[in-house]
Symmetry: C2
Subunit: 339 residues, 2 copies
């Protein structure tokens, strides 16, 4: 087991000082051609690579980005991570992923762990519990320490920082409009409680679209589940209890399951019931019938988040100007609506 070689080892071997080795490897003008060549050759031979930790301590820069998200099995979040990775890696940053699993406490613990020197900045999406509690002290602490934060998707206005979201209200609006255009009047909405910022916005878009088309809002056609977790029973009961000719769902899974329930009821899709979901994942693409969705462009979101964060991290300036980037959702039309 050959252990990693250090500057000290090279210095000892070549009978020069550590400083000389360090400078030689950086091609400093201070060092003679001879010495530089000798040191560099030796370093190459023994495959010297500087120790990242030591450099981090010295520079107070880790080249690590902390990503704290509620869940990783959700397609949307994985695409965001991919976008972050892509941009961050190209800039020489590593990505430390922590899962809050929708828990406030885990979110806090993870952030505290990372905030003590492990990372240069955070990219995060709030856990549902955090949004429900409306407690953002852990975020405040971090920003007050001067650690840059970028919030994406599930954000809050309580914290001053860069933000990236899609226009969920527009997404809800576009989808609902689409259903209305297809002659649907009794459009059900399956969503979650309003504390989840994205659900709230999507619901607002839905209402706006109905209003614009002079369709009366029927609250009984709205099912609010406590979380994004699937609850087959409640969805089945919901469909038994209402009349509907279309369904809008705040995620893919609710939508695909709704299609199944409709099919089981002997309804034709999209003739009797049209369905639209959010998130353009594998599920939508390969469901039978394939699902029309509001695409959220997660990868783009990740890239932009990473870009904004790294810009802040590498900026010398002290000025505190924060921006919120709003991406436009697009409708991906498939077979669960008439095209």
């Amino acid at each position: 087991m050959k252990s990693k070689i250090t500057l000290k080892d090279i210095a000892r071997e070549l009978e020069v000082s550590i400083s000389t080795v360090s400078k030689a490897l950086k091609n400093s003008e201070e060092i003679s051609r001879d010495t530089k060549e000798k040191v560099q050759a030796f370093a190459r031979l023994y495959n010297y690579k500087p120790n990242n930790i030591a450099i981090s301590l010295k520079n107070k820069r880790t080249k690590n980005i902390g990503v704290v998200i509620p869940d990783i099995v959700h397609h949307f979040f994985t695409t965001v991570i991919r976008g972050i990775e892509k941009y961050a890696n190209a800039k020489g940053y590593n990505v430390i992923v922590c899962l809050s699993e929708e828990s406030f406490d885990k979110e806090v613990i993870n952030m505290e762990m990372l905030a003590n020197g492990s990372i240069d900045g955070f990219i995060m999406s709030l856990s549902s519990e955090t949004q429900a509690k409306n407690d953002y002290n852990h975020l405040k602490e971090v920003t007050e320490q001067g650690i840059p934060v970028v919030l994406f998707d599930r954000i809050t206005n309580e914290i001053d920082c860069d933000k990236v979201i899609i226009d969920d209200r527009m997404g809800g609006y576009l989808a609902t409009k689409k259903l209305i255009e297809q002659g649907k009047q009794k459009i059900a909405l399956i969503t979650t409680d309003d504390y989840l910022s994205v659900s709230k916005a999507r619901g607002d878009g839905y209402r706006k679209a109905l209003l614009d088309s002079n369709i009366e809002l029927d609250e009984s056609r709205i099912l609010k589940l406590p979380t994004m977790e699937m609850d087959e029973e409640r969805i089945r009961n919901f469909f038994d209890s209402i009349e509907f000719d279309a369904v809008l769902c705040v995620n893919e899974i609710f939508a695909v399951f709704s299609m199944r329930v409709a099919l089981e009821k002997g309804l034709k899709i999209p003739k009797d019931v049209a369905v639209i979901g959010f998130t353009n994942g594998l599920l939508s693409k390969y469901a039978n019938p394939s699902l029309t969705v509001v695409a959220q462009h997660g990868e783009k979101m990740g890239e932009i988040s990473a870009q904004m964060l790294i810009e802040k991290v590498e900026s010398e300036k002290e000025e505190e100007t924060f921006q919120t980037k709003i991406l436009e959702p697009t409708l991906v039309v498939r077979d669960s609506t008439i095209n």
Copy 2:
């Protein structure tokens, strides 16, 4: 912006030495009750937290685990990550995720980045390009430096390290047997080239099952795609070119798409065609009809990998004993087969 407080700050403020502060915070017996209380109170007041980087440099332990995987949008890998996170977090470790995106070069670069002090050990699954090239020097280098490595799922025998796999051969066998039991004789297999270790093993299981049941192997019923990437055209052509009454696929996506093609041909599932895939993801559960799959227990795999790695990382012993854990796949029977 209040910057982080250090031991030095506390020492200066309280007019004691840094060593005293350090010891007091660790509740050392050496320090008087008075001083300890004073220091601890002060530290609590100013919310002192030790700098992870400094500790890492001193201890030569980062409490970070490097995870290098080919893809994060695949359900299987996300469940593995979740398992790793779960175990690692409980043990106080952070997880640095890097994506090779099936590229040999990216795999090498990512490992080199992390190997220079950023992590205590690797958990990884080989990129397809690496398996194709059969070049594992980057892994050799890392293990020779004494950095523990755990390989999961896509492994190689060229490297001596801990490994976690599922018995893919058994998975292929179980699935094929199941189809045979249901009276199917013309069982198609959609897989990838053999360099992917898992595909090879699954194919072996398929052959073994046919052999055991005295069903002649018809190579024309096997479609080998170059990678796990979807190729709708080739799959369609494949189905046009053969007779079949069942399909086994090495992933969910191929399987769900096969179902769609079969349905388009007017075939009934599972009566005319039964379908089984690998990976028990969302797709299988919510597909119409729902898909029978070989479950790979990714989360379990992640947990075990993390456990094995952390054990090696924290073990003082020099002895090099490596083990390979083989998990048993299970068949999750749904509507794409007769039950």
